[in-house]
C-alpha cells in the first residue's frame, strides 16, 4: 500500500523535474536578455546555497568562506579567460578552489568547530586584503578587466554547473561519505571510534563543496567587464547562501534551491529602490528564520503536512 503511493509521488516529482530541466535547457532559444539573466541569477545562488549545504548541512560546521571561493573563481576568470578556453577556465577555478579549501580545512578542521567558523569568517577579509596588496605591489593595478562571454554561453555554463552541483550533492548524500558526514554531525566522537577518519572526511567534502562555488564565480565574472577585490570578495556572498539554506530548509536539496529563488528575486526587486533597507530586512529574516523555523520553510511545510494527515487518525 505504502510503496505504491510512494512510487506515484516519485514518478510525479521526476516528471516535474524533467519538464523543468527541458524548459531551462531550451530557454535561450525562446527568449534572451532580461529573463535569461534572471534565471541565470537564480541558478547561481542555487549553486552557492546547495554547495554550502553539502558540507555545513550535515556537520553543523558553519562555513562563512563561500565568498572566498566565489571570488577566487572571479579572479581566475579575469586572469585566464580569453587566452584559455572558457570551459578550461571553469575547471581550473574549481581545481584552484579545491586546493585552497584543502588548506583551510587542514588548518582548521582538526580543531573545534568554533575555530573553523572564525577562520572562515576572517578568510574573506584576508583574501580581500591579500589580493589588494598583491595588486598594489606586484601588478600595480586595482582590479582587472575580464574577457566576457555571451549571455547564452554563460547561461549554459551556469546551467551545466547547476546540474552538476545538484547531482553531486545528491550522490554525496546517498553515498558512504554522506553517511560518514552525517555521523560526524550527529556524534563526532562516536564516528571516529567507529572507524571514520573524521578529519579527512570533513576536509575532502569541504573542499568538494568549494569547487562549485568557484565555478559559479568564474562564470559570473565573464558577464562583468571589470572586477576588483571588493566586488569579488564580499561578505554578502557568504551571507546570502546561509540565509537561503536556512529559510528553505536543509533537510533536502529543494530547500536551498527554493530559498535561492525567493531571495534572489526579492533582492533583485528591492536592490534598486532600497539598497540598504533590503539587506537589513534579509538580516531580520535570517534571525526570524533561525528562531522560528529552524527546519526552514520546507520543514515547516512538512510539519504542517504531517499534522494534517495525522489529524484524521489521531486519537481524540
Amino acid at each position: 500500500m505504502k510503496t505504491t503511493t510512494f512510487s506515484k509521488t516519485r514518478i510525479v516529482s521526476l516528471a516535474v523535474l524533467a519538464v523543468i530541466f527541458v524548459a531551462l535547457a531550451l530557454l535561450p532559444t525562446i527568449t534572451e536578455g532580461y529573463w535569461l539573466t534572471r534565471i541565470s541569477d537564480y541558478m547561481r545562488y542555487a549553486i552557492l546555497a546547495v554547495a554550502w549545504v553539502i558540507f555545513s548541512g550535515p556537520t553543523g560546521y558553519m562555513s562563512l568562506a563561500t565568498a572566498a571561493f566565489y571570488g577566487l573563481g572571479f579572479y581566475i576568470a579575469a586572469i585566464a579567460n580569453g587566452p584559455v578556453p572558457f570551459v578550461a577556465v571553469i575547471i581550473i577555478a574549481g581545481i584552484a578552489s579545491f586546493v585552497v579549501a584543502l588548506g583551510i580545512g587542514a588548518l582548521t578542521l582538526r580543531l573545534r568547530g568554533v575555530y573553523f567558523t572564525m577562520f572562515t569568517f576572517a578568510v574573506v577579509l584576508l583574501i580581500n586584503n591579500v589580493v589588494l596588496e598583491v595588486e598594489r605591489l606586484v601588478t600595480g593595478t586595482r582590479g582587472r578587466f575580464v574577457e566576457t562571454e555571451t549571455q547564452a554561453v554563460a547561461y549554459y555554463a551556469m546551467f551545466a554547473v547547476a546540474i552538476i552541483t545538484l547531482v553531486s550533492a545528491y550522490m554525496i548524500r546517498r553515498s558512504r561519505h554522506g553517511l560518514a558526514l552525517q555521523s560526524i554531525g550527529e556524534y563526532e566522537e562516536a564516528a571516529a571510534h567507529s572507524g571514520i577518519n573524521v578529519v579527512r572526511t570533513k576536509v575532502i567534502i569541504f573542499a568538494t563543496s568549494s569547487v562549485f562555488m568557484a565555478m559559479a564565480g568564474a562564470i559570473i565574472a565573464t558577464r562583468r567587464t571589470y572586477i576588483d577585490p571588493g566586488i569579488a570578495f564580499n561578505m554578502t556572498t557568504s551571507f546570502l547562501p546561509v540565509l537561503m539554506a536556512m529559510f528553505g530548509g536543509m533537510g533536502n536539496l529543494f530547500g536551498p534551491v527554493i530559498g535561492a529563488v525567493v531571495f534572489t528575486e526579492l533582492g533583485d526587486q528591492l536592490l534598486t529602490k532600497f539598497p540598504d533597507l533590503y539587506m537589513l530586512i534579509f538580516g531580520l529574516v535570517l534571525i526570524l528564520a533561525i528562531t522560528f523555523m529552524p527546519n526552514g520553510i520546507l520543514g515547516l511545510g512538512q510539519q504542517v503536512w504531517r499534522k494534517m494527515r495525522g489529524g484524521r487518525r489521531a486519537p481524540a
Binding site: 568547530g113 572564525m118 540565509l243 539587506m279 538580516g283 533561525i290
Partner: protein, 286 residues
C-alpha cells in the same frame, strides 16, 4: 628615540582598544557561548553615537563614552534576554546553540550595519576631539586621554570580575553553568548581563576609537576579525588572555605599521594562521 616612544604609546593604546574589544568578545563566547560575528558593528555603533552626539548636541566624547556604553549594554542585555535565551531553550545541545546563535549574530550584522548606513551614510567621518598636541612631548592629547581611559576601564573591569559578587557569578557561569545554577546563581540573568557587558565594552571601545581614528559604517568587520584573532591568541574563554592578547597584538601591529602600513592586516592573519598551526590553545589556554 621619539619613534620608539611613539610606537610604544600608540601600540599600547591600540593594544588597549584591542583588549577592550576582545574582552567583550571573549565574554560573549566564553561565558555566553555566542560567537558574536556582529561584535564589530556595535563598535561602529558606539563610534557613531559619539560622532552624532558631538555633532548635534556638542556633547563631550568622554561623556558619550558612558552613553554609548550604557546604551549598547542595554541592547546586548535585551538581545540576550529575548533572542538568545529563546535559541538556548530550543537547542538540544550546546553545539546546536553555538551554531544557531552564530547565524543569528550574522543576521544581526546586516541589521545593525545597514541601520547605521541608512542613518549616517557610507562616508568616512571624523570626530574632532582634543586634536592639539601636548607641546613638550608632541603626542596628540586625544591619544593620551584615550590611553588613560583604556587603563581605567581595564582596571575597573578586572576589579569587577575579581571582587564583586556579580563578577564571581560570571566567572562561575563561565566555568560550569550547571553547577553555578545549582548553587543559586540566576544563570539566565547572569548570562544576559554578561552578554550586555561584552557588547557594552564594544560600544565604549567604539567611542574611544572615534576620538583617535576615522570612522565609517563599514568599519565593523575588521574589528570583529581582530577580536577573533586576539581571543585565539589569548586563549578561547580566558578573559585575562584576551587582555594580554590585545596588548600584544596592538604593539606588534604598530611595529608593522611603522615599517609597512599596508601589511598590517596581513600580519594579523599570519599570526592567526601560525597560531592555528602551532598553538590553537593560545597563551592562557587550558
Amino acid at each position: 628615540m621619539v619613534v620608539v616612544r611613539d610606537i610604544i604609546i600608540t601600540g599600547l593604546l591600540l593594544g588597549g582598544i584591542f583588549a577592550l574589544v576582545s574582552v567583550g568578545f571573549s565574554l560573549q563566547y566564553g561565558v555566553g557561548r555566542v560567537l558574536n560575528v556582529s561584535h564589530g558593528e556595535f563598535i561602529m555603533l558606539g563610534s557613531f553615537i559619539t560622532f552624532w552626539l558631538l555633532g548635534s548636541a556638542n556633547i563631550n566624547p568622554l561623556v558619550s563614552m558612558l552613553v554609548s556604553g550604557v546604551f549598547v549594554f542595554a541592547i546586548g542585555w535585551f538581545l540576550y534576554a529575548t533572542l538568545f535565551r529563546r535559541l538556548m531553550d530550543t537547542s538540544p545541545s550546546i553545539e546546536a546553540f553555538e551554531g544557531k546563535s552564530m547565524l543569528a549574530a550574522f543576521g544581526l550584522l546586516y541589521v545593525v550595519q545597514n541601520l547605521a548606513r541608512i542613518i549616517w551614510g557610507s562616508q568616512t567621518q571624523n570626530v574632532i576631539f582634543l586634536n592639539r598636541t601636548v607641546t613638550a612631548a608632541q603626542i596628540p592629547l586625544n591619544r593620551l586621554v584615550a590611553l588613560g581611559v583604556v587603563i581605567v576601564i581595564s582596571a575597573l573591569f578586572y576589579l569587577f570580575l575579581a571582587r564583586t559578587r556579580m563578577g564571581k557569578a560570571i566567572r562561575a557561569a563561565g566555568q560550569d553553568p550547571t553547577t553555578a545554577g545549582l548553587m543559586g546563581v540566576n544563570i539566565h540573568g547572569v548570562l544576559a548581563i554578561c552578554f550586555g557587558l561584552g557588547l557594552g565594552m564594544a560600544g565604549v571601545a567604539g567611542s574611544l576609537i572615534s576620538t583617535v581614528y576615522a570612522i565609517s559604517t563599514s568599519m565593523g568587520l575588521q574589528y570583529t576579525v581582530i577580536a577573533m584573532i586576539v581571543v585565539v591568541l589569548g586563549g578561547l574563554g580566558s578573559v585575562t588572555g584576551a587582555m594580554i592578547g590585545g596588548l600584544v597584538l596592538g604593539v606588534v601591529s604598530q611595529l608593522v605599521t611603522y615599517f609597512q602600513p599596508t601589511m598590517t592586516f596581513i600580519a594579523y592573519y599570519a599570526i592567526f594562521i601560525v597560531l592555528l598551526l602551532v598553538r590553537p590553545k593560545g597563551i592562557m589556554g587550558k
